[in-house]
């Protein structure tokens, strides 16, 4: 559990960080909260020659609403999401998830940007941002660009970020009236990655569902969007039959692998159970 040798840089601006990445090319890795990267280095599963530490780049942290969006800086800690009043009052799905990522120690270090850039299919924020229809801001040698969450997350631990690019922020559309969301995570013990987890966000308008987002955690090679379940819900009256039907479709969309947490069948059924529970809570939160 001792990492190999590496060179360490601690820039204080985004431009310096980008310049360092440009200079060191594929030898370099960005260090955010280090809660995924450092364990990998200690196990010598990752041995970057150069680390560019973003912890001194203050402009990358913060939570604010502007231009109809919630903007979360890439370096915002999970614990900041957990404690934010803005998030607690208007983004219950994010609040739910932030409270169950790992344990308090990890949450104090781990970041939103690191979590998404790491693209762990078991990462909680991937499915949350999928359900919320978020997009990410990216800065790089070629300038700034925007990717939808679906465009960003490519596969297991793979994103469409190019070499030398830094994910700078996450943008979540502000919820319309009648919206509600919830996160349901099944874990073996506190601090564990999910056996399965489900993020849902719905909007109810004039008695029926006008929009639905459902993201699945840890039940496939990457974060999964349960599109058929979303489609089935949209336009429905959100009664219990509709929720059950959506839960079945979400389970069908999952593609879990057996491991110590359980069999494929178990996990698929957990997607159903958790989707149903999350939808019931989301509907309740949506009110009316």
């Amino acid at each position: 559990m001792i990492p190999g040798q590496f060179e360490y840089h601690a820039p204080s601006t985004l431009d310096e960080a980008l310049a360092l990445l440009a200079e060191h090319g594929s030898d370099a890795r960005v260090l955010a909260g280090g809660q995924s990267l450092i364990p990998l280095m200690k196990l010598r599963l990752a041995s970057p020659a150069v680390l560019v530490d973003l912890n001194g780049v203050d402009s990358l942290s913060g939570i604010e609403e502007s231009d109809g969006q919630l903007r979360i800086g890439a370096m915002t800690r999970h614990s900041a999401l957990e404690r934010s009043e803005l998030i607690a009052s208007r983004y219950p799905l994010i609040a739910d998830a932030a409270a169950v990522i790992a344990d308090p120690l990890v949450r104090n270090r781990g970041t939103t940007g690191g979590s998404l850039a790491h693209a762990d299919p078991a990462g909680d924020l991937g499915s949350v941002m999928t359900a919320l229809g978020a997009e990410v801001g990216v800065a790089g040698p070629g300038g700034a660009r925007t990717l939808s969450i679906d465009e960003l997350l490519l596969g297991p631990f793979m994103t469409t970020l190019d070499e030398g690019e830094i994910l700078t922020e996450v943008r979540v559309p502000q919820p319309e009236a009648g919206s509600g969301g919830a996160y349901e995570k099944l874990e073996r013990k506190v601090g564990d990655f999910a056996t399965a987890a489900v993020a849902v966000q719905i909007t109810r308008a004039n008695g029926s569902c006008s929009a639905a987002g459902i993201g699945l955690t840890a039940v496939g090679p990457t974060t999964i969007r349960a599109s058929e379940a979303e489609d089935a819900l949209t336009g429905s009256s959100l009664d219990d039959d509709a929720l059950r039907a959506a839960a079945d479709l979400a389970a069908a969309a999952s593609d879990p692998a057996a491991d110590l947490r359980g069999s494929e069948e178990y996990k698929r059924d957990m997607v159903r159970v958790l989707t149903l529970r999350a939808l019931r809570r989301a509907v309740e939160r949506a009110g009316g």
């Binding site: 559990m1 001792i2 190999g4 040798q5 010598r44 344990d103 099944l186 073996r188 013990k189 506190v190 601090g191 564990d192 990655f193 056996t195 110590l260 947490r261 359980g262 069999s263 178990y266 059924d269 957990m270 159970v273 149903l276 529970r277």
Partner: protein, 791 residues
Amino acid sequence: MVAETSPEIGGMGHSVKRKEDARFIRGRGNYVDDIVRPGMLYLDIVRSPYAHARIKSINSDAALEVEGVLAVITGETLKEFNLHWMPTLMSDTQMVLPVDKVMFAGQEVAAVVATSRYAAADGVEAVEVEYEPLPVVMDPFKALEPDAPVLRDDKEGKTDNHIFHWEVGDRDATDRAFEEADVTVSQDVYLPRIHVASIETCGCVAEFDSVTGQLTVWMTTQAPHAIRTVFALVAGHVGLSEEKIRIISPDIGGGFGGKVPVYPGYVIAVAAAVVTGHPVKWIEDRIENLQADSFARDYHMAAEIAADSDGTLKALRIKTLADHGYTDAACNPSQFPAGLFSICTGSYDFQNAFAEVDGVYTNKPPGGIAYRCSFRVTEAVHAIERLVDVLATEVGMDPADVRKKNFIPADAFPYQSVFDWEYDSGNYEGALNLAMETIGYDELRREQAEKRERGELMGIGISSFTEIVGAGPSRHFDILGLKMFDSCELRVHPTGKAVARFGTKSQGQGHETTYAQIIAQELGIPASDIAVEEGDTDTAPYGLGTYASRSTPTAGAAGAVAAGKVRDKARAIAAHLLEAEEVTEDDLEWEPGRFFVRSDPEKGVTIQEIALAAYTNHPQGMEAGLEAVSYYDPPNLTFPFGSYICVVDIDKGTGEVHVRRFVAVDDCGNIINPMIVEGQVHGGLTMGLAPALYEELSYDESGNPLSASFVDYLVPTAVETPAWETANTVTPSPHHPLGAKGIGESATVGAPPAIANAVVDALSHLGVRHIDIPITPDKVWSILRENGITE
């Protein structure tokens, strides 16, 4: 009855705050990894990625190129000194470093010595080992099949993977009882492989002075004296000599049995210190600890009970396969290859019983240690407590009633069990009654019936266990021939303060406090004035160490006996000091801390005055000083017991088990420090919850460990742990000088079956009779879905 002492003296029964905690909670403990010696080097270990493979070559060239790397030690290096193999405590053999083949994934293959911990790790990365994989045997049942590869081909003439057969009881009489019985039930019960996972991993700092031949080893060991003797015996041929070996066991961050064995890392570090002439530190990391250090349990038990149709127990029969990994590196007393498994008749009055255990080799790490239990007692208790529930269901009785019907009655003690243990004292029904009252048993049964009507799943589980601890009487108990007495050396200083040294070694049990209280009880010197020392073989008297809840029964008793001897001398000095009163020793009465004249209680002398006199004014003809030694050979073991009741609710959707309540009634005889006892029970219960619902060391078919880090080895946290409700009954041990019995392990032993019984009880109406622990959500889910229960 034990005399009352004042709170200032703080003898038996006072919840004295733990003396050791001041340094622990301020971060001022002194653990092995805190030891730094001048010129110290660091050792790191290359480990096998294969569970069974021939080593074709080891190339150290690249490793020796790494800056800071000084040496690479292999089996060939050790072979030159004939130190590549070592004996285990069970008289088996274990590789220190292999010269031929590896036998489990994670086994030590070579060691790198370097000037820094980082350089050592870089060196490990650079050692090139070529392996030729061999067929892997993971399943102990398959290991016994005739065509199974013979794993221990190093043993001349070995043609199978069988280690030992051990049996106890009358097989024929038991078989007859089964044939004649109204009812028989049988159940396979597996206790999985688990790990103590103490917070501090294992390690040592070894320092060898080539001029004087002195070897000093700071080491994470529960038994420093035994280790010293083992080192002298194993390495005598290379010049180590017992008077020049000093083992120091400083503060230990949890032992639980995992720090009894001699691990290869210790021996390699000693060899490295001798070879390099520098002190060498070896501290394993968590993954190494979980994948290579001794496991516990891994018992496959086929258990059967014969009974009358009214639930009267008639006979017990258990056949067990014990998976020991590639060598039998358990730490049982020599005459007990299956430990004290023969306590499996439990709290019940069986007239017939037969038990047998066969040990088997597989390609798993070695061990079979007693994880917070006195040598295979957890296994025995789990089998009997599960089986009694299976029988209760079979005969349609409440599990509490079956237990009460069959308990050894309170007036039958001392009780001779069919397996020949003499249970010292007990009141089993008293403990169960208290547990039932505390938890409101009848009301819970009513609630359960209502919930069942509504389709909700709730269960109540009982475990009424009997422990067997305090090994042990020298006529039966030894480790490598060393008798299992323990010791105390007590010295009272002129100012009335004292130092007491013991042959045991606390790893968190609070010996510095409880031992001081024992002596305070006997001498009336305040516990706060008594320094307790353990763990340094140069200063402490010889003893076999701390495990198997033996410290209070053995060393604690030695403390009481030594204090009694000091008091005898103090009486003579007191009579001398009261000469003017014309009294003799016979005219003096003792109250804690003071001798007084029976006819004139105002006249007396305190133990502090006597202590001063022992050095300044002792009677002519008497030796000066006030000290005594006791090597205590217990006349019998002690038999703590208790009744635990657990209530669980099951989530129909996910299969999760929630422990709603857990009442633990323990009886450990007379209590020295109630707060420490409660703490021991809390910790033990949590370590019982762990294997019941969470922990298991698992492997894939190729022998790769699947739970070799805390990501998958699921140690429960405060969040998973219910609010334990504890209570006590007190049934003193008739043979222990203080009537105490030992409490360190009761809860670990007693809790798992209470939890398992509760879960099975919640599902019993579906026909469920048994679930092997750990009872994980996916296991429960499978049962629910098979029975059409869903959310």
